[in-house]
């Protein structure tokens, strides 16, 4: 929890107040048996009947104070822990959104998700319960001992000598069970993984009739989880019986020792009665303390997982501009200068790539799987930083741009891009303040207007989760509309039209040419027909350029390109048509 100190700090006074009230309540509660003892001792003396009612009233008063204070403090604990958690989640989500792609790759999305949800939830729970039990249990424990000592110091030696024994057993048991809880968490991750895979792969699993196999796979992780959970539970379950056994034996000892004390005139019998009350109180407090231990160990793991992300260093911060060159016309809109990059540090995904692209031009990138096509886009948009060389937009190194300044220039469709739950218009607008006219125009240009009009509700039709109620082609057109809606400076299309039929694809190209003449386009495609009109075509293989130029030039000079063209267009004769 220490690592989340700065979230708790703003509420320190409020929390201190909560704890103080909790303390007050505990003290009031401690005085209930005290006054009971007074009633039994003084009230039962002859002619002191009035005291019975006075102390009885005091007991009621204590009970009332305790009630009022506890309710108030409990409410306060819920409020402060909620506020802390809210801020914590807010920051965590913000941080996750600011991580570089490289950091996110390392963290993985499922892990980020569970940190943001179940881990913060656990922290919240701990903060709330911790405030409620954290002061109450120890103060009842210590307070109970103090009360006993003040009532009868010698008799109090019995409980005082017992507490270390209980503390030791709690410590031993907790030490043994915590590693088990940690393991349990990782097995739980396995369970989650199997379920996730079964949901996302349902078609393949059904097609191959692997239900039985999957059930076995699940049985494996499920059984392991059950086993660890059972062992961990059985060990921590020792806490309760051991603590109550020790205290109950202590209670027996109090009766015996008390008998000698009373016989010697050193103790009052009513004190024994009161002691029995305090023993019950202490026992409950003891169990409360062990609960806190278990809770703390579980939530500390969560707090660490949250803090690990929050403390990640910032990546991809803008750097100082080194130089600025020339006017708009002479400077290429996009330029790669001898750029090299590797995702893993082993082997290059892009090596020594250079090209220039002027405003309004189209660059097409073609190449084999893993040739580095998407990497070019990742570097251009500064999703990753190049290892060597420079990526320039308007002659300016992309690293010198402010994040929003850079992203404001792009309209982009990634491979299998993301469709959010919501309406079609929401998806095109994509959280931007765009008016309806812009959305409609973008849909028209993306050739999406027709299918949208065919949907019930049109633009306001709901898109299902992951766009499941759209066909592949509809999804792609929707995404292209999104990219066009902001009237971008640079349009990036990564395999964005693969599910479009040729006619739609051609109409899309025409719309781009006519309506977005000043937009510079970078597109990745597999089809010759999609790239042949480009002003510049790069053919990549294994991170290197193996051909560049216009369609006709490549047909002539680049054997790989010619091979692709022939595969797709038959003999290639239509290509010249």
């Amino acid at each position: 929890m220490g690592r989340l100190k700065k979230y708790i700090y703003p509420y320190r006074i409020y929390i201190a107040l909560t704890l103080l009230i909790k303390l007050g309540a505990a003290i009031a509660e401690l005085f209930v048996p005290y006054f009971m003892e007074r009633i039994l001792r003084e009230g039962t003396m002859p002619h002191q009947q009035a005291r019975i009612f006075i102390y009885g009233a005091l007991m009621l008063l204590c009970a009332g104070i305790c009630l009022f204070m506890n309710i108030t403090a409990n409410r306060m604990s819920a409020v402060s822990s909620g506020k802390i958690t809210r801020k914590l989640r807010y920051d965590l989500f913000e941080k996750l959104n600011s991580l570089s792609a490289r950091q996110m790759d390392e963290l993985t999305v499922p892990s980020a998700e569970s940190r943001l949800t179940s881990d913060t939830y656990r922290v919240n729970e701990f903060l709330a319960r911790g405030q409620r039990l954290g002061i109450r249990a120890p103060s009842l424990l210590i307070g109970g001992v103090i009360m006993m000592v003040t009532m009868d110091a010698r008799l109090a030696l019995v409980p005082v000598s017992l507490l270390p024994i209980i503390a030791l057993s709690v410590w031993l048991i907790t030490r043994k069970s915590i590693p088990l809880y940690t393991r349990e968490q990782s097995v739980l991750d396995d369970v989650v993984r199997v379920v996730q895979e079964n949901v996302t792969g349902v078609r393949v699993i059904r097609a191959l009739s692997k239900a039985e196999y999957e059930r076995d796979r699940f049985k494996g992780v499920n059984d392991t989880l059950t086993r660890i959970d059972t062992t961990a539970g059985s060990i921590s379950a020792l806490n309760n019986p051991i603590a109550s056994l020790v205290l109950n034996l202590g209670l027996t000892a109090v009766v015996v020792v008390g008998a000698y004390q009373v016989a010697g005139g050193a103790s009052q019998p009513s004190v024994i009665v009161a002691f029995l009350q305090y023993f019950v109180m202490i026992l409950n407090a003891m169990l409360g303390v062990t609960r806190i231990f278990i809770m703390a160990s579980r939530s500390t793991a969560s707090a660490h997982r949250v803090a690990d992300v929050l403390e990640l260093p910032g990546d991809l911060a803008p750097v100082e501009a080194q130089h600025r060159t020339g006017g708009r016309e002479t400077v290429p809109h996009i330029e790669f200068r001898n750029v090299s990059f590797s995702y893993t540090g082993v082997g290059a995904n892009i090596s020594h790539l250079s090209f220039r692209l002027y405003r309004g031009q189209t660059l097409a990138i073609l190449g084999t799987t893993g040739a580095g096509k998407s990497t070019v886009i990742n570097l251009l948009m500064r999703i990753y930083d190049a290892d060597a060389g420079e990526v320039l937009i308007d002659g300016r190194d992309v690293r010198t741009f402010d994040k929003s300044e850079l992203s404001g220039r792009f309209g982009v469709v990634f491979q299998n891009d993301f469709v959010a739950e919501g309406t079609i218009a929401d998806n095109i607008r994509f959280f931007r303040p765009l008016d309806d006219a812009a959305v409609d125009a973008a849909a028209r240009d993306a050739q999406a207007a027709e299918f949208i009009a065919g949907k019930e509700g049109g633009m306001e039709a709901e898109v299902a989760i992951r766009g499941n109620n759209l066909s592949g082609g509809q999804r792609q057109r929707l995404l292209i509309a999104r990219a066009l809606a902001g009237d971008p400076d640079i349009l990036v299309l990564d395999d964005a039209s693969s599910a479009l039929d040729y006619r739609t694809d051609a109409m899309l190209r025409r719309a781009l040419r006519e309506k977005h003449a000043h937009t510079t386009t970078v597109l990745i495609a597999q089809r010759i027909s999609s790239v042949r009109h480009a002003d510049w075509i790069l053919v990549l293989d294994d991170g290197k350029v193996i051909g560049s130029g216009r369609h006709e030039e490549l047909l002539e000079h680049c054997p790989e390109y010619r091979l692709i063209a022939e595969t797709q267009m038959g003999t290639g004769e239509e290509a010249g048509a």
């Binding site: 379920v195 799987t369 992203s407 006619r503």
Partner: protein, 594 residues
């Protein structure tokens, strides 16, 4: 308002009862353990309840008129020690049993959920976020499980304790028991009132948390896009709305739920005060001895203590009930209709597929496919082309019976597919889908997935045919490389090749390809095509692809438009006359405009 409130309450109670019955059924599977738990619980409680009686007698002996009766005090103390030791032993055994019981129930629940997941129709998953299902099988089952272990145990023991304490108090001083005639009903009605008030709050709490989880899952998966558009701020704002809703629901449930504990403690303290006051008055009148009063006070604590605990755990029970509702809803979700009892298991399919007048729609309102006809001879290569949204991918859903047709029928080798087992139908197809799917396991396991007892040689041959062998061999662990997170770290094309290799291993006579090659580069595709031709020999193939070159070799091209087949024929036939196909084909080369 009041009326609907009442109706809601009735409904609440009924669902409450149903849930308890269901939970009991789960416990019932371990009847012996349940009986043992009841026995141990009763023993532990009875043994520990004898303690106050003994201590009371000892105190009486201490305050005896003729001085302390040491031998009697020691006698009592010895028995106390025996009772407490036995009681602790029983209560640990009880916990031990209950933990086993509850964990086995949780395990059974998870298994039941998962079993149903493997039976639910595909459409269920098309409509439901993954995170939701995951949170039920983990978080909700865990909540029910925790509650079973601790809460059920408490209730069990409390019942015994309350009954025995009451009996003891009655035996000591019946008149003092009247104090509880006031406090107990107050407690009872108060907790009931509170439970009703709080239960919907806990339900809201779970729901809001679920919504937050869903949102987070969605947004994190679309993070790259959000960032590319620089929309982090707007998304953050949306997140904050959901976050605030979740936190507020939590705070409200918590703030109200935690009223219970202090309130019940208050009532206990009040009854303690009353017992002391009246007890002392009785003492003065000589109608009760100090030791008896001590016993009475202890029993009164024990008597109302459990009620306190029960009230405390009511809050937990509320969230457990809400969780149980979600768990059972998933277990009870309607599975795919079972195969008819006389369903035929297809064996050695020839691959003669007839689609006869099929109508289909996903939401009944918008027909996707109407009056669709097709006859595929064994070994035929059927290419399906057409503009997007023409209904091409839907055909896979129907051929594989992921969805059932609304009208008409599909026959394989003359058998209507509704009259054959789904398993045998699906196994007679090899399928490669647009969305690649790999699971966490080795590359070997992933390729061999569809074929039982596949040897290393089989797998290597398939990988070679899919042109992925050399890539695999370059990995440090080769075929034993473990894939995680749906193959994060390997490219889409390579994933695709792996799924193609998987399909190649299958022993099926029919093949379905859904744009499978669109993510593989053209050069590799050309090689795959050669391998596929080999694989496709003597097989009926349905290929949904947009690349016309892929389908030029087809025996029959179905040109689809608006859910109907508008043209059929070979490439040469279709291209030689004015046709929609020719239009599509030409569009590929509309370069002429430049």
């Amino acid at each position: 308002m009041i009326k609907t409130d009442k109706a809601a309450r009735m409904e609440n109670r009924r669902s409450h009862d149903r849930l308890l019955k269901r939970l009991w059924q789960y416990m019932g599977r371990n009847r012996v353990l349940v009986l043992l738990a009841v026995f141990l619980s009763a023993s532990a409680s009875l043994l520990s309840l004898y303690g106050p009686k003994l201590s009371g007698r000892a105190i009486n002996a201490i305050t005896a008129e003729g001085g302390v009766d040491f031998s009697f005090v020691l006698h009592c103390a010895a028995w106390m020690a025996v009772c407490y030791v036995l009681s602790s032993a029983c209560s640990y055994l009880l916990q031990f049993v209950m933990i086993r019981l509850s964990r086995s129930v949780a395990r059974q629940m998870r298994r039941d959920i998962f079993d149903n997941l493997t039976r639910l129709p595909v459409s269920y998953f098309d409509r439901r976020p993954v995170g939701d299902i995951v949170s039920i099988i983990t978080y909700d089952v865990d909540t029910v499980n925790q509650s079973l272990a601790s809460d059920a145990l408490q209730i069990l023991q409390s019942t015994v304790t309350v009954t025995v304490s009451l009996a003891m108090m009655l035996s000591i001083a019946p008149i003092l028991v009247t104090v509880f005639a006031v406090t107990i009903p107050v407690t009872f009605f108060f907790t009931r009132w509170l439970a009703r008030r709080v239960r919907p709050m806990f339900r809201t709490r779970s729901r809001k948390l679920g919504e937050l989880n869903g949102f987070v899952e969605e947004m994190l998966s679309g993070q790259k896009t959000i960032r590319a558009y620089g929309r982090e701020g707007a998304v953050q704002q949306r997140f904050e709305e959901k976050n605030a809703a979740a936190v507020n629901a939590y705070t409200e449930a918590e703030a109200n739920g935690t009223v219970t504990g202090p309130s019940v403690t208050f009532i206990n303290n009040v009854s303690l005060a009353l017992v002391c006051v009246f007890g002392s008055l009785l003492f003065l009148k000589g109608r009760i001895r100090l030791g008896d009063l001590s016993s009475f006070v202890q029993y009164s604590r024990k008597f109302s203590g459990p009620i306190n605990e029960v009230a405390n755990i009511i809050a937990e029970m509320q969230s457990a009930f809400a969780a149980a509702e979600r768990v059972f809803a998933l277990i009870d979700a309607e599975p795919e209709a079972a195969d008819s009892p006389d369903a035929l298991a297809l064996e050695q399919v020839d691959g003669d597929v007839v689609i006869d007048g099929v109508d289909f729609s996903y939401d009944k309102k918008r027909p996707i496919i109407t009056d669709f006809h097709l006859h595929a001879q064994p070994g035929a290569l059927i290419a399906i082309v057409g503009p997007t949204g023409a209904g091409k991918t839907t055909i896979i859903n129907l051929l594989m019976r992921f969805y059932d047709v609304d009208a008409g029928e599909i026959r394989v080798d003359g058998h209507p597919i509704r009259s054959v087992t789904r398993e045998s139908l699906r196994r007679s197809y090899a399928m490669v889908l647009q969305d690649t799917w790999l699971f966490s396991g080795t590359i070997f396991d992933n390729i061999a997935y569809g074929k039982k007892d596949a040897t290393m040689e089989d797998v290597v041959n398939a990988a070679k045919a899919a042109r992925i062998h050399s890539y695999i061999m370059r990995l440090p662990n080769g075929y034993q490389t473990v894939l995680t997170d749906n193959g994060a770290g390997i490219s889409k094309g390579q994933k695709q090749l792996l799924t193609i290799a998987r399909a190649m291993l299958l022993d099926a006579n029919m093949l379905i390809l859904d744009e499978a090659t669109s993510n593989v580069d053209t050069r590799t595709e050309q090689q795959i095509q050669a391998a596929m031709r080999e694989l496709m020999r003597e097989k009926t193939c349905f290929i949904i692809a947009h690349r016309l070159s892929t389908i030029k070799n087809a025996d029959n091209i179905l040109v689809m438009r608006h859910g109907r087949v508008v043209e059929q024929g070979t490439h040469d036939e279709l291209i030689s006359r004015p046709s929609f196909y020719r239009e599509l084909y030409r569009a590929q080369f509309d370069a002429c405009e430049d």
